[in-house]
Amino acid sequence: MTNQVELNVAKAPRAPRFTLSRLPATAVVGTFLVLVIAVFSITADGFLTVGNATTIVSTASVIMIAALGQLLVVISGGFDLSIGGMIPLAAVLFSSLTTSGWPMWSALLACLIIGVIVGFIHTFFIVFLKVNPLITTLATLSVTGGIGFILSNGQTLAVPGDAGVLGDQVIGTLPWHVLVMVLLVIVVHLLLQHSIFGRRIYMIGGNSEAARIAGVRVTLIGGSAYVLSAVFAAFAGVVLASQLLAASGAVGSDITLQSLAAVVLGGAALTGGRGSVPGAVIGVLLLGIIANGMTILLVPSFYQQVVSGIVLLAAVTFSRLQERAKRVS
């Protein structure tokens, strides 16, 4: 902050030169996404089909739902590592409740309530006590993940077929959960861009102390972001269980990093105040398509991990350079 170069923009108008670094982050990652699709269309047989597109979207929807919550928290200036524990916990809870005869909707509701509780716990520690979000959510990641294993007794549990509405049943060729996911994407986008609550999230992420002094309810808004994130993660866990018709303490535990990676690929800054839903969508799709294309090409999944990591690092480096160009231009 202190080394920031101050400039008087109006004084010296210059013709803006075109450089790659002046494009919005989403435009660059979007271009890269198109490029990746083009490459796989040529190299991977059966990549460019409606069936495969459905597979990609269907697989990505769980990550997308979780990433929406992550996005809210990251914009507000924190992050949520507990998603990877919340998802298996919700999945396991959903499967045991439905197995023991609960109706699907009640089981879903129960999982969402657990999400609210975890969100309140995060709010208490991070927003009120100002404990570091990294440490707090790392701890709750461990706790929620652990409870998931305890509930499932380390086993893989089955989900009764009639409880798999979200994952199993389709409208046309699209599963229900894809429609729900698209709906959530639209709602969160409107929330962030066109609601007062959303603009407040950006403001507290940009500078929470300045927002507080201006009279913004920083605790309410920051807390809401954490609650929403945990609820989205719980919902993602239910969708995952009804997709697989099974649940275990390990299912979906890698989504913490995937959601974070997707959000950052889409232009969000871990320092807060930046990020968007369209960006996050592009980020999720990019990671999903790379995985899908490489699977078709029969590349072992370990290599996919390596490639995802490199893509993420490249994107973050790029946005860093972009930031610097903005400051000095």
Binding site: M1, A10, I196, R199, M203, G206, E209, I213, V216, K326
Partner: protein, 507 residues
């Protein structure tokens, strides 16, 4: 000036000068210093004090002149060389390592030679010895963060003396100390003098400078204006010499008498129970006028600003405002409910979200006005208001969607002020509103304050910039030791009187 060499002569400055570019920031400085004496160095901001200190302590090479020590010419090429010659400087911003112990901090610069491994016990023993030389009883095992600010200052002094300092330069040593802590430090400085250490004492607190120094040097515009025995000069004379005769008694622009509009806002019995920052501070704010509150750092003026803004919650007292009588607001939201808007001193950390747009920052306090169905944001209204505000406040930006961090400091400050004015507060509190702001923006901000007051607002301008305190206010209150000590208006509102009252002269 005599050029004889007394046996106690420690250091002589001969014709020291410094030129930056084509500007002479320092000219023809001749000063002799003896062991065991204390020189008070005073001057306004920009008078050349820092440059002179930099030259003596080896940080800045002089353009002209020489430094003599023990009859030899010395040219320090680095602070390290100056330190080796026994010159130590204690900067205003202390440079210690907060989470290490006192002993570790003391010995950092003078780590026992030739030892890679040092036992904690040996460290503590040497630390104890270092503190004993100053007559301090601080447990060397405590961490620096556990000490009071005065104690940290003293540890830094002890650290400097460990290197066998013969000349100790103190730059604003009491800036962040309370009165009682300052007194303690003063006592220790007298003790150092008695031990033969030579001191250069730089401070805006002239009363302290008078108490501790044997001679006082006044710098103005880079020249040594005066060098006299402390006993034979007065505080008022010193202030006049600092400011220069041309502007000492001028009041800047003569402002027309403001019309007071409606009930005054009364602050009564403001106290900080745990520390003596505010001591029964009372003041009245009148709608229609710009009230200035001037005080040196530590006078409590900043606590009044923060307290009214709901940004400092350890203050007891009452406010009778437009919303009735109540206590000191406990939070920014409570302040807002009392129709107070607060412009904090730290623009970047407390005022603006730098990576958000001009529009978002401008409308942060009034966003709810654009709330439609289901709290849908009426974006068009938000942007229209932002655009008209940017125009009326003459903020220079490419568009209201530009990030505010890309604007110049002056324009950022205009955005911050405009965001508060949009809330149409009954009481507008500003804390150092033009710090680091260019002169054009500064004048414009001052004009905006006057306009707002004339339209019926009560404006409280808290500043430590004496020029601003004179130029931008209708009435000026001077604070010292936690309370208002004088009210200056009309022909009594001069820089001279403001400075000498704030610094504690009997006048």
């Amino acid at each position: 000036m005599t050029f004889d060499t007394s046996p106690d002569r420690l250091i002589s400055l001969r014709g020291i000068g410094k030129r930056y570019g084509s500007v002479d920031v320092l000219r023809e400085i001749d000063i002799d210093l003896d062991a065991g004496e204390c020189l008070g160095l005073v001057g306004e901001n920009g008078a050349g004090k820092s440059t002179l200190l930099g030259i003596v302590s080896g940080k800045t090479p002089p353009t002209w002149g020489t430094i003599l020590m023990g009859g030899e010419e010395r040219a320090f090429r680095s602070p390290r060389e100056a330190r080796a010659a026994g010159i130590e400087i204690i900067p205003q911003e202390l440079a210690y390592i907060p989470h290490l112990s006192v002993a570790e901090n003391l010995l950092l610069a003078n780590w026992p030679r030739g030892r890679t491994w040092v036992s904690q016990r040996a460290l503590n023993r040497e630390g104890d010895i270092a503190l004993e030389r100053l007559g301090l009883s601080i447990d060397v095992r405590r961490r620096m963060t556990e000490l009071s600010l005065a104690e940290r200052q003293l540890v830094e002094i002890a650290k400097a003396l460990l290197g066998n300092a013969r000349l100790l330069i103190l730059d604003e040593p009491t800036a962040s100390l309370h009165a009682r802590e300052s007194e303690f430090l003063m006592g220790k400085l007298h003790q150092l003098k008695a031990n033969g250490v030579c001191l250069i004492y730089v401070s805006h607190h002239l009363d302290e400078t008078f108490e501790v120094s044997d001679r006082i040097a006044v710098l103005r515009n880079g020249a040594l204006e005066d060098l006299s025995m402390t006993a034979s000069t007065t505080l008022d004379r010193t202030v006049s010499l600092m400011l220069g005769s041309d502007q000492a008694y001028g009041t800047g622009t003569l402002r027309p008498e403001p019309q007071r509009l409606g009930q005054p806002i009364e602050l009564r019995g403001w106290n900080t129970p745990t520390q003596p920052v505010l001591v029964n501070c009372d003041l009245d704010l009148h709608p229609g006028e710009v009230l200035g509150l001037f005080g040196l750092v530590g006078s409590g003026a900043e606590s009044v600003a923060r307290g009214l803004g709901g940004h400092q919650s350890d203050i007891a007292g009452s406010v009778s405002g437009p919303t009735g009588v109540s206590g000191v607001p406990r939070s920014p939201r409570a302040a807002r409910a009392m129709q107070v808007a607060y412009v904090p001193a730290e623009r970047k950390s407390d005022g603006l979200a730098l990576n958000q747009t001009v529009a978002e920052n401008l409308t942060v306090m009034v966003l709810n006005r654009f709330s439609g169905f289901a709290s849908w944001l009426k974006r068009r209204g938000q942007l229209a208001l932002s655009k008209s505000t940017v125009e009326s406040s003459a903020v220079r930006c490419q568009s209201v969607l530009q990030e505010v961090g890309q604007l110049s400091g002056g324009n950022q400050q205009k955005v911050l002020l405009a965001s508060r004015l949009l809330a149409e507060p009954a009481i507008l509190v500003l804390h150092e509103p033009t710090r680091g702001v260019d002169i054009g923006s500064r004048n414009q901000i001052h004009a905006q304050l006057t306009d707002y007051a004339r339209a019926g607002g009560a404006v409280l301008l808290v500043t430590s910039d004496v020029q601003e305190a004179i130029d931008a206010t209708d009435r000026l209150l001077v604070m010292r030791d936690g309370r208002v000590v004088d009210e200056l208006s009309g022909i009594r509102k001069t820089k001279n009187l403001a400075l000498s009252t704030a610094a504690g002269s009997a006048a």
